[in-house]
Amino acid sequence: MSDDIRSISNVDRLLHEPSRTIIVAILYAVESADFLYLQREAGLTKGNLSAHLSKLESAGYVKIEKTYKGKIPLTLCQLTEEGRTAFEEYRKQLQSFIDNV
């Protein structure tokens, strides 16, 4: 197996899924974002977004906090330190793969 193929096969499989990559990329740029914002920006249905967030939360990449803003329920999502590091690493791996191809 060549180094290029090995490097792409080593990427974080959890992040290497388009919808989850977008969710994490958005969260990487901000402190936190709510469910509604992520749903609109990622172009996902409620069910899909919930499923992806659950996976990311289980991996310890995302912290989810259910709260209220006035009377409106608010689900706040925030990237954890672990999630930030994982995303940085993922981008580096992806970049090095692109550079080598």
Partner: protein
């Protein structure tokens, strides 16, 4: 994919400016300064006028905090329930301190120059509105480049033109500054109104159940 990720991240950073509240924020501060300079012109040469020129830094900083609070309320009621809530990473202490020094320094220099103008009418200080316009233009260009929002370039150009025009008008310094801030404040209100109406027309409030 990489470009799409960069685009999403840029959009997240631009989200703060999507509804025109930034322009309303600036309009509020500018119009507050307009009122301040008009008062200063009216009471020029009096003890109250001297007091006003000393407290300029406080008016400027108080205006920034007060208007920012009002804008946050507007976002809480209009933008966040409509298209979602985003919180941004707070600048570290060092960066915030630096910004405060810049803002405080700029308004401090401006108030010293105004006091000089009041005490020495023969000193030509007509260039101050032009300088203010140029500073605002530079700040807008930096913002435009960082956020990749085209309308900031227009704001920069308008600020430059109005600053230069105010410089040419043969009038007192305080009236000149009142004209600059007044016109810029009205322009910011118009741009903010346009951006807000575009935002409201292009988005629909979600159903109650859409909030997870």
């Amino acid at each position: 994919m990489k470009n799409e990720l960069d685009e999403k991240q840029l959009r997240a950073r631009q989200y703060w400016y999507v509804d025109g509240t930034y322009e309303f924020n600036m309009a509020g501060i500018f119009l507050l300064l307009t009122g301040y300079f008009l008062l200063l012109a009216k009471f020029e040469g009096t003890k109250f006028g001297a007091f006003l020129s000393v407290i300029m830094v406080l008016v400027f900083l108080g205006g920034i905090f007060g208007v920012s609070w009002l804008i946050r309320q507007l976002k809480n009621r209009v933008t966040f329930p409509r298209t979602g809530y985003v919180a941004y990473q707070r600048e570290n202490k060092e960066k915030r301190k630096k910004r405060l020094v810049w803002v405080g320094g700029f308004s401090g220099i401006l108030s010293v120059l105004i006091i000089m103008a009041i005490n020495n009418a023969s000193t030509p200080l007509n260039w101050i509105p032009g300088f203010t316009g140029a500073m605002m233009a530079i700040a807008s260009i930096i913002f435009g480049v960082r956020m990749r929002i085209v309308r900031f370039y227009w704001i920069a150009a308008l600020s430059m033109v109005i600053g230069l025009a105010t410089m040419i008008i043969p009038t007192d310094l305080t009236i000149g500054l009142a004209i600059y801030y007044g016109v810029m404040g009205m322009i910011m209100l118009v741009i903010g109104g346009f951006v807000l109406s575009t935002y409201l027309r292009s988005t629909t409030p979600p159903e109650e159940s859409d909030h997870e």
